[in-house]
């Protein structure tokens, strides 16, 4: 019987079975090391060079963690860039260099993110507005109010707070540790808790999840709140790193589209229900090593854009091309 009828629950072996994150991380490593070797900058493979590389992942990585949750439930969040700017500005405006205000400022920012996430989630889950439009709109509204209210750098963060972004533990910068810890927490939540399992259920088959007794809307709402919190932490990190927030750091960093790109490159399906944060971290590592390699090669700024565009497409295509059926 040579016929290729696959038995139930068989284990296939082949390229497609290698988890996406592994492939992406391997790719990132190959690119980085090759660039360092070819350009003779082998000291970039040192501890300092690597921590520098990791440092580049922090802001985008934090946004990406949150975005992963939104995309996992089949939604998307385009408002993260505006929220990052808002949080960064608000944090520095509230602190005004006063260490006593660190905690209240962080609390205020988290509260704001909670509200924005709740509004996004409400519009998407309860009002049924397409998430692209809903979050694009909340982003526009935030950005508008922000730029109208704060025409220039709104104060500065406390020096003690700023130090957090520049200090390290055993030579590893604190922000890198923060990203690692949050990524672990996010992984843990998605893989090990009921809440995580329910998020996958809601994203994979919302009708089925509802029939299984899950309150689908609540999970979409929660995912949006988490996405906003991710952006909030990224904004707080940027405020510390940059000393003060400007109303355009989110937009200039293209955190909205780039965070979606890394999530998708990491193997999370835009339709929801498949993927996870390890892929996202792999995606952000790929972006960072590309950045670093472009620097080593001294690639022209415009050419860099071209290459990045091509790589985004190629990275997703490698896996997507095997899909049967149509995508849109």
């Amino acid at each position: 019987m040579s016929i290729d009828i696959l038995p139930a629950g068989r284990a296939r072996r082949g390229f497609r079975d290698v988890p996406v994150p592994v492939v992406v991380i391997a790719l990132a490593a190959i690119i980085y090391v090759t660039a360092a070797v070819i350009t003779g900058q082998t000291n970039q493979i040192s501890f300092a060079g690597l921590t520098g590389l990791l440092q580049r992942t922090v802001a985008l990585g934090l946004v990406g963690l949150g975005q992963t949750f939104a995309i996992l439930v089949g939604s998307i969040d385009l408002s993260v860039a505006a929220l990052i700017s808002t949080v960064a500005v608000l944090a520095s405006y509230l602190m005004q260099g006063d260490p006593g205000m660190i905690v209240p400022a962080i609390a205020a920012c988290l509260a704001l993110a909670l509200c924005v996430g709740a509004i996004n989630g409400g519009l998407v889950a309860y009002w049924g507005i397409n998430p692209l439009i809903a979050t694009l709109s909340t982003g526009l509204i935030l950005q508008g109010v922000l730029s109208a209210g704060f025409t220039y750098l709104g104060g500065r963060v406390a020096p003690e707070y700023q130090a957090l972004a520049y200090q390290g533990l055993f030579g590893v910068p604190l922000p890198v540790l923060l990203l690692a810890v949050l990524a672990l927490v996010a992984w843990f939540v998605l893989a090990k808790t009921r809440f995580g399992a329910h998020l996958y259920a809601v994203g994979g088959n919302p009708d089925g999840a509802k029939l299984a007794g899950l309150r689908v809307e609540r999970f979409v709402l929660a995912a949006h709140i988490i996405a906003s919190l991710g952006a909030c932490v990224a904004g707080l990190y940027l405020a510390a790193r940059l000393q003060s927030g400007t109303p355009w750091i989110g937009r200039d960093g293209i955190y909205d589209l780039e965070s979606i790109a890394i999530v998708v490159i990491g193997g999370t399906a835009l339709s929801g229900g498949k993927g996870g944060v390890i892929g996202t971290i792999a995606g952000v590592l790929l972006f960072a090593s590309l950045d670093a390699s472009f620097n080593m090669f001294g690639v022209d700024a415009f050419l860099k854009q071209v290459l990045r565009g091509a790589i985004v497409i190629a990275a997703v295509a490698v896996y997507a091309v095997r899909n049967k059926g149509h995508v849109a």
């Binding site: 220039y152 790193r241 750091i249």
Partner: protein, 375 residues
């Protein structure tokens, strides 16, 4: 009219409760720049990029090093033609001095503060650099990174500054107030009291631009000239033209157009052409398209500048510092000339592209004009 003001007021109140705008009206700085505009420059004649306006010199003997040198440059980005021309100037200067320079390493931060901090860090980690030039994306954001770099290398900052005195020198032309003073005084001198001027600006909140407007506004106020509107156009020509058309359609006579940057000056003029109106008095900048239009249409105009030749200076400064020669510092004020009717002809070069900045000081550099996009 009333409807408009009520609606505007309601919205403004609704959104502006948290308004917090940094003041860009610093009378002391205004006065200082006004003086600098008329200060006689020191340094080689005809080479404004090597000149400086007053100020002290700084001793750099401790940085002396044998060449050839590796110069590293962390660039905020090349997101507008001004920076593109500037970067070409810098590369041109480096080519001119190629015997003394081993390599010019340029990292482009694409306008991202966060990336520029990492870029500076990786330049330091790379260990190749003898000197670091920084053109910061944002003043405050880059301060800690520059401070860290100062501990390892001589650092030169230009264009926008940083909030620390640790760099060897900070190179910049007179500044935004100077720009505003030159342009607004010209417009005020051509108009009667009570005339209307429309201000076209790029984006809010950028220090080097806000100071230009603040200076111009105070001069207009003093001269009794009405600023009938101040509009932001993000350097978008279509938007500029639309905004000016809308103002024309309101039926208010526009006597002059003041611009905080010249890239869309010709678009603003086209709105008058299309409406069949005479050209207003206008202040632009030193781009070729504006200068050509000025000459062709015999405009009443002035082109103040924020000269791109300042991109040559950091290379010169870097080599001087590594030679141990004293350089102007901790601030290096470059002259900031304006193009007037008298000097107009000498700045027009038909070979150059429309958005080329005439005060590039690049005419003698190797590769001119092809490297700058000329024919």
């Amino acid at each position: 009219m009333q409807f408009r003001s009520i609606l505007a007021a309601t919205l403004a109140v609704a959104f502006s409760t948290a308004a917090y705008a940094q003041e860009f009206n610093d009378p002391a700085e205004f006065k200082k720049q006004r003086e600098l505009l008329s200060t006689k420059a020191e340094g080689p004649e005809g080479k404004p990029w090597e000149q400086h306006l007053g100020g002290a010199m700084i001793d750099t003997a401790k940085f002396k090093k044998d060449g050839p040198h590796t110069i590293c440059f962390s660039n905020a980005g090349v997101f507008n033609p001004w920076r593109v021309v500037g970067l070409n100037n810098m590369k041109g200067e480096a080519a001119l001095q190629k015997d003394r320079i081993q390599e010019l390493v340029i990292l482009d931060a694409e306008g991202k503060d966060d990336k520029q901090i990492s870029d500076i860090q990786s330049l330091l980690d790379g260990g190749k650099c003898d000197v670091l030039i920084v053109s910061p994306t944002t003043t405050a954001a880059l301060t800690p990174a520059v401070e860290a770099a100062c501990e390892k290398l001589p650092v030169i900052v230009f264009d926008r500054g940083v909030n620390t005195k640790c760099p060897v020198t900070y190179i910049h032309p007179v500044g935004g107030y100077g720009f505003g003073i030159t342009s607004a005084e010209f417009i005020a001198s051509k108009l009667p009291k009570g005339a209307n001027v429309l201000a076209i600006r790029i984006v809010p909140g950028v220090d080097v631009l806000e100071t230009r407007y603040s200076a111009a506004k105070s001069i207009f106020d003093e001269a009794g000239i009405n600023v009938i509107g101040s509009e932001f156009t993000s350097s978008d020509r279509a938007k500029t033209k639309s905004v000016v058309e809308d103002y024309i359609n309101r039926g208010v006579k526009i006597d002059a157009v003041w611009m905080d940057a010249g890239d869309t000056a010709t678009a603003a003029l086209e709105a008058f052409e299309d409406a069949g109106l005479p050209y207003p008095v206008i202040s632009g900048e030193d781009q070729q398209d504006f200068l050509r239009k000025w000459q062709k249409e015999n405009l009443v105009a002035i082109a103040p500048s924020y000269p791109t030749y300042q991109w040559r200076t950091p290379i010169i400064a870097a080599l001087d510092i590594l030679d141990g020669k004293p350089v102007p510092g901790p601030e290096w004020n470059l002259p900031q000339p304006a193009i007037t009717q008298e000097t107009l002809a000498s700045y027009i070069d038909e070979r150059m592209p429309a958005l080329h900045y005439s005060l590039c000081g690049c005419q003698e550099l190797p590769g001119y004009p092809e490297q700058w996009g000329g024919k």
